[in-house]
Symmetry: C2
Subunit: 286 residues, 2 copies
């Protein structure tokens, strides 16, 4: 199988490395904006050749993997001439906007696009951080379209299975609602905290007293700014709902603190701790 990777960063590079390791991809052609990063991708064996642009990369490819910020999709998808059996999939963190952009750009070829989202981000960016193990035991959500033939979906599933990922399917609406709550909102909250601390006159002092908890809490504020800009804007209706819901909830907790209501505060903290323990640790251990 000839694989084209559009955007050879952490995600694109890790996907290429995994498919090559599984011997599913015999040749990987990569394209990207950063020549130094592409050179490193060649050196690391993530790609076998460099194409001048996405159209050139996609020419003759059996599988095209889009791993650029989502805002580049329309231009990329419009430029590609796919052969009849080629499949395009992607790694975009939002799916409603991606599907709309793909329909608009690909027209009748939309049946060849199987949208996907590996839930395996990291605060690192670039192919330097890529690893074939990135997706092992991580969830990948596919949001297949009514137009997709079963064989197209299977091909994408097979690729993710070779990465060791756990595949689930949703519709794009449900995907965007779920991710707004457990991914997009936390990213905004972490960016907001770091931005606020950094803007203060005593920022250096504050950061110097930040301990492991702060470091963990804000790790996602080291995520890729351009990617997260696109995510927040593409999914903004859902994200705004989540921000409003969160703000209201924070307001309730503020009232409890202001009233020095020990019992209510301890119950709230205990409930949160118990839920996290039960649900999240369990999930991650399974």
């Amino acid at each position: 199988m000839k694989l084209a990777v559009i955007g050879v960063g952490l995600i694109g590079g890790s996907f290429a490395l995994a498919l090559k390791q599984a011997k599913l991809a015999s040749h990987v052609v990569g394209v990207g904006r950063n020549p130094a990063n592409l050179k490193l991708a060649l050196e690391r064996g993530a790609i076998d050749s460099i194409a001048a642009d996405p159209a050139a990369a996609a020419r003759g490819a059996d599988l095209v993997f889009l791993a650029t910020p989502v805002s580049y999709y329309p231009k990329i998808l419009s430029s590609m001439s796919l052969h009849a059996k080629a499949i395009v999939t992607d790694a975009g963190s939002t799916k409603r906007d991606v599907v709309a952009a793909a329909r608009n750009a690909m027209k009748e070829k939309i049946s060849q696009f199987v949208p996907g989202h590996p839930i395996a981000g990291a605060e690192k960016s670039g192919v330097a951080a890529a690893t074939p193990e990135l997706f092992r035991n991580r969830r990948v959500v596919l949001t297949p379209l009514p137009e997709n033939p079963a064989a197209a979906v299977s091909k994408v599933e097979q690729a993710w299975e070779s990465c060791g990922a756990r595949i689930t399917k949703m519709n794009p609406d449900e995907h965007d609602a779920v991710l707004a709550a457990v991914s997009h909102l936390p990213h905004v909250l972490a960016f907001a905290l770091v931005h606020d601390i950094a803007a203060r006159a005593n920022a250096a002092q504050l950061f110097s007293y930040a301990a492991g908890g702060f470091r963990d809490f804000t790790r996602i504020a080291s995520s890729h700014p351009e990617m997260w800009r696109d995510v927040c804007i593409a999914n903004r209706d859902r994200l705004l709902e989540e921000i409003d819901r969160y703000s209201k909830n924070l307001g309730s907790i503020r009232k409890i603190i202001e009233a020095a209501d020990s019992a209510a505060l301890e119950k709230l903290f205990s409930d949160a701790r118990a839920a996290r323990q039960r649900r999240l640790d369990g999930e991650f251990e399974s």
Copy 2:
């Protein structure tokens, strides 16, 4: 030196283990509410004997280490009969309320109380998680009182140095303002997020799609509920200021997202990432 540890949990247990390892403490007497935990502390060698209550533990002690939730301090401090050279220090996460409580309970013996705060929390609780390495290279803030003789402060510094901690001094006001921003606020934000997700009808689904970023972001929501209840209430004036500041800042970001202002959003995210990289990673690597 005879050390009394009031509250042999993660912090008290780790302090005892470190002082014994450094051969600074020849005998450690522990007291606590949970008999199974105290038994484990004996087995782990964190303590050498168990006292019936804080007054019994403090009798004859050269150094008393308070590591209970702060709300227990008044009762504990009132009950103790200290010999003239005994020093009391603590691990409370707030300092203004601790100093006020100690003044009230200890009267003229306040000169024997040197307030402290090791900034080395963890989401684990109990002596099972204790380790003599917990404080290595971590900051410990001392907020000495005007009444403290130099020798009393030195004794506490020596104890923390034997733990490998980096000691700094502040006044209680400054301590509480700094910690409200970089510790107390993030804890409230994490508890709020987990509490909100856990309360939803589709909580199980949401948690199951939460990835590493969510897990890191919410790790501090597994912190000790009773301790954090006390912290939030004791430092509530500063914490409310921080919550209001944060809410306002989140509101500004909300407006940028609503307006789909790509440039402003990317700048904000880039600034946050750069600040975190420069300040926090640098601090932790040094």
